[in-house]
């Protein structure tokens, strides 16, 4: 055997090994919400797979409660996906249990280029941090604001939407005629927070480790809504359950004059009743103008197999171009400051109007989550609100009772 042949043979073997190695298929598992399977994201995934031959993205989509069940089971077994979208709050919750990968190293390397954290609305950054470490990146940022039926208001003599609580109540009562309601409240507890925030209520005080929802302001806020339902008969009892559709359906059918909602309801309203004349208004002001913020964040489990690639994909999902494309096509508001200032966004009626509340929107449970007990306190608040709204119990009494219990839990 000649030396040349041997060298050639060796080169061929090595070449095959190398090629064989890189031809090994790798899968990146991503958990997403079924309702956010936007074309823009499908394109991101396609591009990612094209740029990274040998990689396939397993884009699994779920409803939030199902994803919660599956993710908790995954954490218990150590068989986690690589990248997960969460509806808000899970990042801090799981980070506290040590289940998420801290992103500090990634952000240090890539932060400047991608604009994190500077290009993100401030509170969208802090809500994804635990002990000054980054654990998640916000991908959608939403806030709920007033949406009203211009015809119904005009019929009752109002050519502009209400801006204060008194005006709101006036409008609600005036438009509650002929089996219609002035305002359709949402059963989900987070929808009571605009009222609470507007009355200056703080959920949690870290200094005293107590909750603030037993204050007179909180009672006033909840009593206001309860009275609208029971005394003024200007609002129906919300339909019990975990879904959000009730108010939108009443609104679309022209049976409710006002609802509080976010950009997600635009498509159903337009599809359900294209002839409806409606508009978006800023949130009300009582002691202050405020509303609740929400939106999806992305996180990487600590037990993920392919964290680096997950980060690469994450960056693409939250890039400005992706945000623009996704938001303009689907009416979803985004967390980047540069997004909010972009001319296309400002020119878009829906995004512009729903985006304006981002300036005064607040994350409901931010500080509470850091106690690790937010789920139990939330449960207590939910029961309290339900008691007040469904059983028409006096707000202050119920709130004081449940706040005492919450404080007890916090003190454990």
């Amino acid at each position: 055997m000649s030396v040349r042949f041997m060298r050639g043979f060796a080169a061929a073997v090595v070449g095959t090994l190398l090629v064989g190695g890189s031809a090994h298929a790798q899968t990146l598992t991503v958990y997403w919400n079924a309702g956010h399977a936007y074309d823009a994201y499908a394109k991101v995934i396609e591009q990612f797979e094209a740029d990274n031959p040998g990689w396939t993205v397993q884009w699994e989509r779920f409803q939030w409660p199902d994803m919660r069940t599956k993710l908790v089971a995954d954490f218990a077994v150590g068989n986690t996906p690589d990248l997960v979208a969460e509806p808000g709050g899970w990042v801090q919750e799981f980070a506290q249990q040590g289940l998420l990968e801290p992103l500090d190293a990634y952000i240090e390397a890539d932060g400047a280029e991608m604009g994190y954290p500077d290009d993100w609305q401030d509170f969208s950054v802090s809500r994804n941090m635990v002990d000054d470490a980054y654990y998640g990146v916000q991908i959608h940022l939403t806030c709920a604001t007033l949406v009203y039926n211009t015809d119904l208001l005009a019929e009752a003599g109002f050519d502009a939407p209400p801006t204060t609580w008194e005006e709101f109540r006036e409008v609600a009562i005036a438009t509650s005629t002929n089996g219609r309601f002035g305002f359709a409240p949402n059963p989900v507890t987070s929808y009571y927070w605009p009222w609470l925030f507007q009355n200056g209520v703080e959920y949690y005080d870290p200094e005293t480790n107590t909750v603030g929802f037993d204050s007179p302001e909180a009672a006033e806020a909840l009593q206001f809504v309860s009275d609208l339902i029971h005394d003024d008969k200007a609002a129906p009892l919300p339909v019990a359950g975990a879904d959000y559709e009730g108010p939108q359906k009443l609104f679309t059918a022209g049976r409710a004059a006002m609802i509080i909602t976010g950009p997600w309801d635009v498509a159903p309203i337009q599809t359900g009743n294209p002839n409806l004349n409606w508009a978006i208004a800023p949130s009300l002001t009582n002691k202050t103008q405020a509303t609740q913020a929400g939106g999806v964040s992305l996180m990487i489990p600590a037990a993920a197999e392919h964290k680096d690639m997950a980060w690469e994909l994450l960056k693409r999902f939250v890039s400005l171009e992706t945000e623009l494309e996704a938001s303009l096509a689907n009416g979803m508001t985004m967390p980047r400051k540069s997004w909010a200032e972009h001319p296309d966004v400002q020119a878009n009626e829906i995004l512009g109007n729903f985006g304006q509340c981002l300036a005064y929107a607040r994350d409901i449970t931010a500080e509470l989550r850091l106690t690790g007990k937010s789920a139990r306190v939330e449960e207590l608040l939910k029961t309290a609100v339900d008691e007040i709204i469904y059983n028409d119990r006096p707000a202050q009494e119920i709130l004081s009772q449940y706040a005492a219990e919450a404080n007890r839990v916090l003190a454990e």
């Binding site: 309702g35 409803q63 939030w64 218990a76 068989n79 959000y244 359906k249 059918a253 359900g272």
Partner: protein
């Protein structure tokens, strides 16, 4: 077929038929509504106005659903999983039911009590350790992983035991005297009499497993391995349910169970008559 004794006067007959009519209406109405929803357009379902007969029947929903997701694969998966589980049940449940019904052995009562007790814990409590087990056995996202945890059930065994118990012991004792062991007795004597009971078991097991949601949610990690139940959840938006497509899927989900019911109906009704739940 035995009859309920005595005749009915005309007034009683009318009352009876009225009751039956009401029962039928109540039973079938949500199902009719589901069919109606499956033919509605997006505009109908978002409009907030309750619709029973939509203005335009959107049959295209039935076509769309095949295109929106790998629905054929979902149906296939559902059949494989439910079918596999039903098969295993048919093999093991009657056999174990026979042992408890016709054989004497120490610890029988304790074991039967332990068996029944397995029905008394909700599934999601066993779910996480089961998930761990399945992962350790390397069966995640596989048909085996979906089928094996449901290979037998105390409910099926209990049901079979009730069906087998009334079989006359003389037959069995005679066979024993002739020297046959229990496996042979089971195979030659008991099993042939169980056809209706097996049909019942098959129907109930298949229907139950066909509609199973939680375990497939946990153990399946790729869209292609989903059965219909978890596959349908792909059609919902974050803040609202895509009622029409979900209903379309629901109608499709209903059909196999219904067909199986029609096939086994004649056994199902007569089944207990032979062995008698008395």
């Amino acid at each position: 077929m035995s009859r309920k004794p005595g005749g009915h006067g005309p007034a009683a007959s009318l009352a009876i038929y009225a009751v039956l009519a009401l029962a039928v209406l109540l039973a079938v109405f949500p199902f009719i509504y589901m069919i109606s929803l499956s033919l509605q357009s997006d505009a109908d379902i978002y409009s907030g106005v309750p619709v029973i007969i939509p203005q335009t029947l959107q049959f295209s929903n039935y076509v769309d659903i095949w295109e929106r997701a790998p629905f054929v694969r979902f149906i296939l998966n559902s059949f494989i999983i439910a079918g596999g589980i039903t098969l295993l049940h048919l093999i093991f449940d009657p056999l174990i039911g026979y042992v408890f019904a016709k054989m004497k052995f120490p610890g029988k009562r304790v074991m039967f009590a332990a068996l029944l007790s397995t029905l008394m814990l909700p599934f999601f409590i066993r779910m996480i350790p089961l998930y761990l087990l399945t992962a350790q056995m390397g069966m995640l996202n596989t048909y085996q992983g979906l089928i094996l945890p449901f290979a037998m059930s105390a409910y099926g065994i209990f049901l079979m035991r009730q069906f087998i118990a009334p079989i006359p012991n003389d037959l069995i004792d005679a066979a024993r005297i002739d020297g046959a062991n229990d496996l042979v007795i089971y195979w030659r004597i008991v099993l042939p009499q169980l056809r209706p009971a097996l049909a019942t078991l098959a129907l109930l097991t298949f229907v139950f497993q066909f509609n199973e949601f939680l375990w497939p949610l946990i153990v399946v990690s790729s869209t292609e391995m989903r059965p219909i139940t978890t596959g349908l959840t792909l059609f919902n938006q974050e803040f609202f349910t895509q009622w029409n497509l979900t209903a379309t899927g629901g109608v499709i989900l209903f059909l196999p169970s219904f067909l199986l019911f029609l096939i086994t109906q004649r056994y199902f009704i007569r089944s207990v008559m032979m062995s008698g739940m008395k």
